[in-house]
């Protein structure tokens, strides 16, 4: 059958021109994993993701448990009051969000972790959590890519 004969060639050509997959079309790596930790932009702080649902849910509120430490004092986690968060989708943008969440998360401390409650992803694709840290070492920001939602 002519279609079948040409399928390998079609697949090869498709690979060569970098045809985007359907599920990645939303602008990010929707099939990736939640990062275990990230460094802030200036390298002042480390944000560790200690608790996260697997996979992250779509269309439901969920929480993350974070531990944030200064790189100069990594044994003492920062207080929740030093941390604010915002989340959105970049959709290929270098700066800023194409849109944010339709939920305003709250930050508190529970069981020694910084608990970020009220996260809500209404769209599939790669979300970005912007963590702003204002500690003794100064202000810095960390960016976590959060995949939504289970491929």
């Amino acid at each position: 059958m002519i279609t079948a004969r040409y399928l390998p060639l079609v697949a090869l050509l498709s690979t060569m021109i970098g045809s985007p997959s359907v599920l990645a079309a939303g602008g990010g790596d929707a099939a990736g994993a939640v990062p275990a930790q990230v460094l802030s932009e200036q390298g002042l702080y480390r944000v560790e993701v200690r608790q996260a649902p697997e996979p992250l849910p779509k269309g439901e509120h969920f929480s993350l448990g974070l531990r944030v430490v200064s790189m100069d004092n990594p044994d003492t986690p920062l207080e929740a009051s030093a941390v604010t968060v915002e989340a959105g989708m970049r959709h290929g943008r270098d700066d800023g969000f194409a849109h944010g969440m339709q939920s305003e998360p709250r930050v508190s401390v529970r069981d020694g972790l910084i608990l970020v409650e009220g996260l809500y992803f209404h769209m599939g694709g790669a979300w970005t959590l912007q963590v702003t840290i204002d500690g003794d070492d100064g202000e810095d920001q960390a960016w976590l890519t959060l995949p939504c939602c289970g491929g």
Partner: protein, 419 residues
């Protein structure tokens, strides 16, 4: 012919030989990723409408739905705009009831599966959205005291109510319960003053009656569930076979449209899940037709101010108060409206929150070349992901959308009750 030209001719011939079959393959066969994306739009196997847990309550709700006594002037019922034979819409851009409404009448099919109600999500439960309609001066233009009295003095309604909810308040006491009144009456109007003069306990008793009527209407609307469109049958076949045969109900154009829908056209960014809606609110950058209608911004303000929200004293056990803790600032969603379900979309024209588009094709083309004009709030940049589409692709998308019509609901559900 030079060597170079011969080479070019060979490449051209190869390209021709390759393009025809590959195009055909892309138009009909579904990739694994596309199949997964279609699966995310399908209902779970074996999904059936929930049985009414209280049939008598649902029947009372149905009676209320068709009853014109719910309106202030006795001329309109819920069914005046939510007409069963029009997929529970009215076919109008904007509804005509006591006045001319400001938003297109949404379908009620599968409405019970929504987390937010009305175009702006001003209600967070099916039962509580009823009050927004009853007291809207352009819709049923009633007030809660008048409605409570209507219930009290009409034996059929009163008996049905009391069988489920117990005795009505002593509404014959005109001193305690004036004939008309509502907190939403015009400031300093007789209705507003009458409401304010009532004791808190009596106001609460009337509010409880309203909440109970909403509970009855919601019980009936939970029967309006239908997920059996040609798309659902195709999705089931696709789960078993990556290249299921076409048929009259799901023709080749619809297959191409479905591939576009879950792929290149990016429709599932917002029209996702079995209801083809992410149930979120988006600012599409629509030229403003009504400056007063700020969409979700207004909806959030109304929701948080309402004693009938899920955190209020009339909420039931199924209501979700937790999400009210995380509501965003209203102004962040100025000009945003709820993503409507696309189920039965071919039967629910006109389209968009103000019914500005008469046909499906017009609605699809809006996303390709948004009209210019003053907008309210900030247009969501997600829209920039939508590529330009050819006329044929637009036609294919429309052909696909026409496969989302469900079979009619059972007559027992939709036929008005006998008087």
């Amino acid at each position: 012919m030079s060597r170079l030209c011969k080479g070019a001719a060979l490449v051209a011939a190869l390209a021709l030989a390759v393009s025809t079959p590959s195009q055909a393959a892309n138009e009909t066969a579904f990739t694994d990723a596309e199949r997964a994306a279609v699966r995310a739009l399908a209902v779970s196997p074996g999904h059936t409408p929930p049985e009414a847990s209280e049939p008598a309550l649902a029947d009372f709700g149905k009676r209320l739905f068709f009853d014109r006594r719910l309106s202030g002037d006795g001329r309109f019922s819920c069914a005046s705009c939510h007409q069963p034979d029009r997929a529970f819409t009215d076919g109008l851009a904007l509804p005509e009831a006591v006045g001319r409404g400001t938003r297109n009448t949404p379908t009620l099919i599968n409405v019970a599966d929504n987390p937010w109600f009305q175009w702006d999500g001003a209600a967070d439960s099916l039962w509580s959205q009823m009050l927004l309609v009853v007291e809207n001066p352009r819709e049923l233009a009633n007030d809660r005291l008048n409605l409570a009295h209507t219930l009290y003095r009409n034996g059929d309604l009163r008996a049905a109510y009391q069988r489920r909810f117990g005795p009505l308040p002593p509404l014959s006491d005109g001193e305690r319960f004036p004939a008309q009144g509502s907190p939403h009456a015009a400031p300093d109007s007789p209705g507003a003053l009458a409401w304010r003069r009532m004791t808190a306990a009596d106001r609460d008793a009337v509010n409880r009656v309203m909440a109970n009527l909403g509970v009855a209407l919601a019980a009936w609307q939970r029967r309006l569930i239908r997920y059996d469109a040609p798309f659902d049958r195709f999705a089931a076949a696709l789960a078993e076979d990556p290249d299921p045969p076409t048929n009259e109900a799901f023709p080749a154009a619809a297959r191409r449209g479905l591939k576009l829908f879950v792929g290149e056209a990016q429709c599932t960014l917002c029209h996702s899940g079995p209801d083809f809606s992410n149930q979120a609110f988006h600012n599409l950058g629509l030229p403003v037709a009504d400056h007063r209608d700020t969409g979700r911004e207004r909806g959030l303000r109304r929701l948080t101010a309402s004693p009938f929200n899920a955190a209020g004293p009339y909420a039931g056990g199924d209501d979700d108060a937790e999400r009210l803790r995380f509501l965003p600032p209203p102004e962040s969603l100025r000009g945003a409206f709820k993503t409507p379900s696309l189920r039965n979309v071919a039967r629910t024209a006109p389209y968009f929150h103000d019914g500005r588009f008469a046909t499906l094709e017009e609605a699809v083309r809006f996303y390709l070349a948004p009209p210019e004009g003053e907008t309210l709030g900030e247009r969501e940049a997600t829209l920039d992901l939508i590529p330009d589409l050819s006329d044929r692709q637009v036609a294919d998308l429309v052909a696909f959308l026409k496969t989302l019509d469900s079979a009619p609901l059972p007559e027992a559900v939709t036929t008005p009750p006998s008087p």
